[in-house]
Amino acid sequence: MAVKTVIEAIREGMDEEMARDESVFLIGEDVGNRGGVFLASDGLYKKYGELRVIDSPLAESCIIGVAIGAAVNGMRPIAEIQFADFIAPAMNQIIEEAARFSYRTAGDFNLPMVIRAPWGGGVHGALYHSQSIEATFSHIPGLKVVAPGTPADAKGLLKAAIRDPDPVLYLEHKRTYRLVKGEVPDGDRVVPIGKADIKREGKDLSLIAYGLMLTYCLEAAEKLAAEGVSAEVLDLRTIKPIDQAAIIATATKTGKVLVVHEDNRFAGIAAEVMAIIMENAFDALDAPVMRLTGPDVPAMPFNHVLEDAFMPNVEKILAKAKELAAY
């Protein structure tokens, strides 16, 4: 075991899978010689060559279209969208084709493809480099959506996504790339899709999050502990299919739940988590389920003050959690 960053874990995951399975290849903007804008694929071009690490034109619909075609012909493509914000031109390919392919062919064909997309804000990326897209894509049946928050989960879920028979949208939070470090188990460890993980045990209230917000929630939980509030932190890891059992279990255990995400509030992932709790754990609740989310404004602003206002952070989580604890 060694301590690694999230970006190192992702690079290692791709490397190991490409070494293990010749049908795995990478396609995206600047992923080749340049190694990707975040250096996620640094060194892979040299190691596996231009046929397996393909620099695409600046056309997301092309990246996804090529991946769909390759996948239906037995390859296992990893399609990188340079920034999640740029995924919109590929919406038609993803929703109309990739998500429905297995359904359309009555299961005769599967699309074992991964769409990697660096997402999220708090990096002064402004309107075109900061958005959250998970709620939009989680709404589409036929797609799996994962959003790891730690290096170990980033590597393990990437392996699971590559090996999965269906299209998986793999969201990697840009801010976690080099901010979040952690032990990554050696060897071929796969983290199953659809399993949430309790990152911290607690009994007074539950914080449910994923991606960057997991790190913030863990920090907030530490501060809450200093004030005598025992917070449990549940990392969803997979957004879809969501781990209902884990959500119900933590809600039943503590009776007080705060869901945190930086994506916009309306019809966000928190809304779904809250609905699951209300439908299944109502009798155990000791307070209304609460959520802390990004606001319903069109995009993450560039101005630092406004960006801070948009992003949930440790202080905001702490304040909301205290409100919940005091209820």
Partner: protein, 423 residues
């Protein structure tokens, strides 16, 4: 500054107990917003703020009982430009504002649906809290003794868990004590049991019963009534009645009807004692005792003398249901002029009831039992017999009047036939 006084929450109510302050000094209060919960005779009422402003001072602590008109709080008025003339007290009132008694039960007092200081915060229990109450068999009385640590005094899951933890502690504490104390002392004193904390209702019943027995010279008399005609009639009519009206035709409305007839004949029993004289009441308002979870409530059928048996049945059914649901308003429990009690449903044959002041009498219906009775012509027959036990205030009337009343009730019941209209 305006002073808030203990309101008169009913004509016979002379004092009230502060159950809970819903606002704390420094809190902003809106006009008509719940300010304080007051416990009076068997009813909890939320008293609204008489004006908008800031609660400056609480003069009477929770749990304290004060007489009507006592200053309980001070509110500093907010004077919004538009409403200034409205909130300024008239010179006649001299800056004092008596709060009007709420017209209806707390449930109907308009309140904010949610938010800090909402009165429902305390009474509304979360599903988790309810489950724990069930699991640990926490009584209403115990619950009312738990201080909520949540927002606006809400009882949280943790509060219940702490309570349960503490509740089990005394046993171990006693155990340790016994080990260290002398053996003689341990055997001399009885093993300490549990003390059930007094709920506001228990306390109100205790106060009222004590006051009644200490101030009213009770006298007691019994009449034996042949209920055979009534029993037969009810047997025949009850199914159709249930079908038509959707409620059971019990003996209670029939007895209440008989009592009304008896009171009409002997008005001195529909009265109250006062130093100035015996006050005869114009209306006949019959209180009907209803047992509820942690005690007894006596809701009142107002102007029972204007109702048919069917009307009485409906009114009593409605009151009993609302009593058990805790949804009675103050008007529902005040203004009684006479009470009917029905211990007979529990099989009793002789009951000595305590009068509810300021009434002058209470009638207990005991069990209807079949007995061999000597009837006209010295024959022995099996008849449905019932004892009617009357407790009366001997200051107000004497045995003769009491007997005449019972006679009237008995005759009305024994003369019951299908000609007596249900409607």
């Amino acid at each position: 500054m305006a002073s808030v006084k203990m309101p008169q929450l009913g004509e016979s109510i002379t004092e009230g107990t502060i159950a809970k302050w819903l606002k704390q000094p420094g809190d902003q209060v809106k006009k008509y917003e719940g300010l304080v919960e007051v416990i009076t005779d068997k009813v909890n009422a939320e008293v609204p703020a008489p004006l908008a402003g800031i609660l400056k001072e609480i003069k009477v602590k929770e749990g304290t009982t004060v007489t009507v008109g006592t200053e309980i709080a001070v509110i500093e008025e907010s004077v919004p430009a538009t409403a200034a003339s409205r909130t300024t007290p008239s010179p006649k009132e001299g800056g004092e504002v008596a709060i009007a008694a709420p017209a209806a039960a707390p449930q109907s007092v308009p309140s904010e649906p949610e938010g800090e200081g909402s009165t429902e915060s305390r009474t509304r229990l979360s599903p988790a809290v309810r489950a724990l109450i069930e699991e640990h068999r926490i009584s209403d009385a115990e619950l009312s003794g738990i201080t909520g640590s949540g927002i606006a005094g809400r009882i949280s899951k943790k509060d219940i868990e702490d309570f349960v933890a503490k509740r089990t502690q005394p046993a171990t504490a006693n155990g340790e004590q016994r080990k260290t104390s002398a053996p003689a002392a341990a055997t001399a004193a009885p093993t300490p049991g549990t003390t059930i904390p007094l709920s506001p209702m228990r306390r109100a019943i205790a106060t009222n019963m004590l006051k009644s027995k200490q101030t009213i010279p009770h006298a007691w008399t019994v009449a034996e009534v042949d209920m055979t005609s009534v029993v037969r009639f009810r047997q025949k009519a009850k199914d159709g009645f249930k079908l038509r009206e959707g409620i059971d035709l019990t003996f209670v409305p029939i007895i209440v009807k008989a009592v009304v007839e008896g009171l009409k004949a002997v008005p001195v029993l529909n009265a109250s004692w006062s130093e100035q004289g015996v006050v005869l009441h114009k209306d006949i308002n019959i209180g009907v005792a209803v047992s509820v979870d942690d005690g007894l409530i006596v809701p009142v059928v107002h102007q029972a003398d204007r109702m048919s048996i069917s009307g009485l049945a409906k009114a009593i059914d409605d009151l009993a249901k609302r009593a058990r649901a805790g949804k009675l308003g103050i008007p529902d429990v005040q203004g009684g002029t006479f009470t009917v009690n029905n211990p007979g449903t529990f099989g009793t044959i002789l009951s000595y009831s305590i009068i509810a002041p300021p009434q002058a009498g209470i009638l207990a219906m005991d069990a209807i039992v079949k007995r061999p009775v000597v009837i006209e012509g010295d024959a022995i027959a099996v008849r449905s017999m019932m004892n009617l036990c009357l407790s009366f205030d001997h200051r107000v009337l004497d045995g003769v009047s009491a007997a005449r009343f019972l006679q009237g009730v008995r005759r009305w019941l024994e003369g019951f036939s299908e000609q007596v209209p249900l409607y």
